[in-house]
């Protein structure tokens, strides 16, 4: 059933392509209905899955027998979490781009193509298929930003596309090498992730191939120092574009790190564990520090994304169940919260005021002019700071707990990152909405348009999701935990102390 998320979304792209060119309304409605349908399917499929700890096959048929590739879609608890996240992010992104008037149908066609690829990555259990979906997302991203973006859009789009492409090519080198080695060991060609997760690649081989594949994916997860595409890309992108970039695309990278790089090369992870943790914490602290001094509202959120994704990578580097649980939950949580923050800044503020410069925003008193935006941002900020009651708290807390047992010093350092996080969020709230700077008289001829219904829906939906998971983390933990706890799971090799030695 979950496979229909992919098919429905791509079908939506097809329908959009055949719509008349100038009917923006029809395009919006088709896109929204498609996204909602896929989201409903994602929820229903996820709830239906009886045992989230196991990999449940959805479809598996031979695709290219010569190289052992199958069309293999399946899902375990981690896929479920991320598929549901994708559904939510897709719907809210469309709600927040209801005002796109320029080439609407093309915008939504690229948008849905991106979403379809993302669903595909989260559901693929064949490495080649996963890679195909992964690269499929690059092109729509590029065009969404280059065509409908703002500040230095062509530069940001090209940078993002090239970073993604270089990253995926690092992955490709590793995959081809691993495919050849695995063929020698298994006696037949295979690209099946579950089969590959049982192959014991030679230690020396893992030593060089793991960092290649891991970094290849981690570039897209915004790992420091390869994060530089993220702020520029987020800022250049149209609102829905940044929401998707931060909401799901960065998760693709982190997911690839976990599902492909780490699962295939467990010894490699152990060898590079410390380095990964260092880079993750560097990202947490650096992202937060840079976010603190930005003048552009969107750059604050862009750098905060780098910081929050650092927690995902730190969780992955812990190699223990608690850390992994936290990392996956943080992917969900950050996807929701970053989407919301970008929605407020990009759609509610920038589309109305046409500025994101704090110096200008300070004089506008937006908290009074568009109170809904102010309140939403405060709530999103609280969630982003990691206050209890919201999803961010549960996730980051678990990551830190997991990390404490392995890297106590680094954990303390990342605690500093959290404190700075509180600082930059408060600064953004204050400067963006509730400044006490002398107000400039509002221009009576151009009053800010009121917050529209779709925006309200989108905001409420995302806040609700974050609150529900913050209050009842069990809802998702019931899917995530069994994946890591079962001794039979594909992650078991990662969690065994000492590994195969």
């Amino acid at each position: 059933m979950l496979a229909w998320t992919i098919y429905i979304t791509f079908f939506g792209v097809l329908v959009l392509m055949f719509l008349p060119r100038d009917n923006a309304r029809a395009a919006r409605i088709v896109a929204l209905l498609t996204a909602i349908a896929a989201c409903v399917v994602a929820f229903a499929g996820a709830i239906q899955q009886a045992n989230p700890g196991e990999v449940t096959t959805i479809v598996k048929t031979p695709w290219i027998p010569g190289i052992g590739a199958n069309y293999y879609l399946a899902a375990d608890g981690i896929s479920l979490v991320l598929v549901v996240l994708t559904g939510l992010a897709a719907v809210s992104g469309i709600l927040f781009s209801w005002n796109i008037e320029k080439r609407t149908k093309e915008f939504f066609a690229f948008y849905l193509a991106l979403i379809g690829g993302v669903y595909g990555v989260f559901l693929s259990f064949d490495v080649l298929l996963l890679f195909v979906f992964y690269e499929l997302t690059i092109i729509p991203k590029y065009f969404l930003i280059a065509r409908w973006g703002s500040t230095r859009k062509e530069y940001g789009a090209m940078k993002l596309a090239l970073y993604s492409f270089v990253g995926s090519h690092l992955v490709l080198i590793g995959l081809i090498a691993a495919w050849v080695v695995a063929k020698g060991q298994l006696g037949h060609a295979s690209l099946d992730l579950i089969e590959l997760s049982k192959v014991a690649f030679p230690i020396a081989f893992q030593h060089w191939v793991f960092p290649l594949v891991f970094v290849g994916f981690a570039i897209l997860a915004g790992m420091w120092p390869f994060h530089t595409w993220a702020p520029t890309g987020h800022v250049a992108a149209p609102t829905a574009g940044s929401m998707l970039l931060a909401g799901v695309v960065m998760k693709l990278g982190a997911y690839g790190c976990l599902r492909v790089a780490m699962v295939m090369f467990p010894e490699g992870v152990r060898m590079w564990q410390g380095e990964i943790a260092c880079l993750a914490v560097a990202g947490i602290v650096y992202g937060a520090g840079v976010a603190l001094v930005q003048r552009d509202f969107k750059f604050v959120i862009g750098y905060s994304s780098v910081s929050h994704m650092g927690f995902v990578l730190l969780g992955l580097a812990t190699l223990n169940t608690v850390g992994f649980d936290g990392a996956v939950l943080q992917m969900f949580s950050h996807g929701i919260i970053a989407g919301l923050l970008f929605g407020v800044v990009g759609r509610m503020v920038y589309d109305r005021t046409h500025t994101r410069d704090f110096n200008d925003l300070e004089t506008m008193q937006l908290g009074k002019l568009i109170p809904f935006a102010g309140v939403t941002f405060v709530i999103a900020g609280i969630a982003s700071m990691g206050l209890p009651g919201f999803s961010g708290f549960v996730a980051e807390f678990q990551v830190l707990m997991g990390a404490w047992t392995v890297f106590p010093k680094l954990t303390i350092l990342s605690g500093v990152g959290i404190l700075v996080g509180v600082a930059y969020t408060l600064r953004a709230v204050q400067k963006g909405f509730y400044s006490d700077a002398p107000p400039k008289p509002a221009d009576p001829d151009h009053p800010l348009e009121p917050i529209s219904v779709p925006e309200r829906f989108g905001a409420v939906m995302l806040i609700g999701a974050s609150l529900v998971i913050g209050l009842f983390p069990g809802l998702l933990m019931n899917w995530i935990e069994p994946c890591f706890n079962s001794p039979l799971s594909m992650f078991a090799r990662l969690l065994v102390k000492g590994g195969s030695q």
């Binding site: 690269e135 499929l136 065509r147 062509e154 080198i173 090498a177 080695v181």
Partner: protein, 488 residues
Amino acid sequence: MNPVNYLQILQFAAPETIVTLTVLVVLGADVTVLRGKSIAARFNVGALLSILGCASAACLAFHRHIEANLFNGLLVVSPSSDFIKVALLALTVFTILISTSGKFTDHVGEYLSLILLGTIGLMFLVSTEDLLMVFISLEFASLALYILTAFNKRNAKSAEAALKYFLFGGMSAAFLLFGFSLLYGISGSTNLREIAAGIAGKGLDPLLLVALVTTVIGFGFKVAAVPFHLWAPDAYEGAPTPSAAFIGSGSKVASFYVLAKIFTLGFAGAAGSAVWHGYLSGWTPVVAIVAALSMVLGNLTAIVQSSVKRLLAYSAIAHAGYMLLGVLSNTPTSASAMMFYVITYALTTVGTFGVVTVVEEATGGDAIKNFAGLSRRAPGLSLCLLIFLLSLGGIPPLAGFIGKFFLFSAAVSAGANLGLLWLVILAIAMSAVSFYYYLRVLKAAYVEDAVENAPAIKVPLLTFLALALLALLVVLFGCAPGLLTQFL
């Protein structure tokens, strides 16, 4: 020696014969019935006749399933070479279809028959295992290509390009002939298998080395590999666009097929090894150097081009580098991976040149800026362009990606201990570079706006059908490569 059975020759060379008859019919029709008609009418009727001829030849080649070897390897027919002929004929048909709207010549009959004659040369080229026949058919095809390059008599660049191409081509023919004559001297035969037997076990004596290097040089010119590539950008740019498409597609397929055959069959005993830390002299290290240079130089130079045709020429050089990777891996898997890559590449190239033809007609140039706003002016056309260029750049799920995966995985499997990985890493790194310049063209088409009030571009129906079919094939072979690999 047995008496020559002409009927037998005719039977085994039936597809070539059909195409030859088609040439006569097309020429005849053009000088008699079609005399005085409009160019468009002459093109359409001529194209129809040519396509009928090619299609029947292809049907015959596809369905005959015979193995034969005439005159000690002069004419070898096998299902695999027959399939390559089918591919060549298909490429010819597509080339003809994208030429039909051309306004670059009044000599329609001659133009079409030259394309067909070139095809005949290429068809003979793929069905021989004899150096003499290789040389004759290669030159036969090349002569047609030289004239096709010069066919736009109103454009000085066309003549310049043809002259350059001709001089380089002539020189390369000399190199080839020199190498071939040495091989004959060493082994006493012009048959590839006998040559292999003749040079086996003798080690790499200087004479063989010279023969080897000159052969590489000769073919290096033909497939436009660095450092023998200098003619390619000018020829691609100056030639009428459909001719350039033919140079970049059909002639590539046949050249690579025969190149691989000569090296893997003829130089079987002198392969050597190009693996990292395991270098052994022979032909593979030589080809490895040429491949590496082509990938690097082709891709890096393509970045700075502003003319799309020149950009495609440099990208063709880069792609020749990837294909050589398949040759030097020297295993059956890598050979079929290479043929998959070459055929899908050729289809994509014809398609891209088809789009360029239309844009050139409509905007008067082939610079990247002439593509600005194409997605608004001709949505279908630019969708085709998107598919072709992304496939060239290696984006899944298009044929170019899966071809690269086949090629690179075959190459890594070939060397012991992942020995050829260094070349594959280079290739993958360079293909990441290539993505940038393909995206530049697509950016013009999809992101930039056309100049004010630019009218919609009217795409000729036949051309559009051909392009749509090509785009469909590129997607299809990418999603279900089994459709093609079963024949290779």
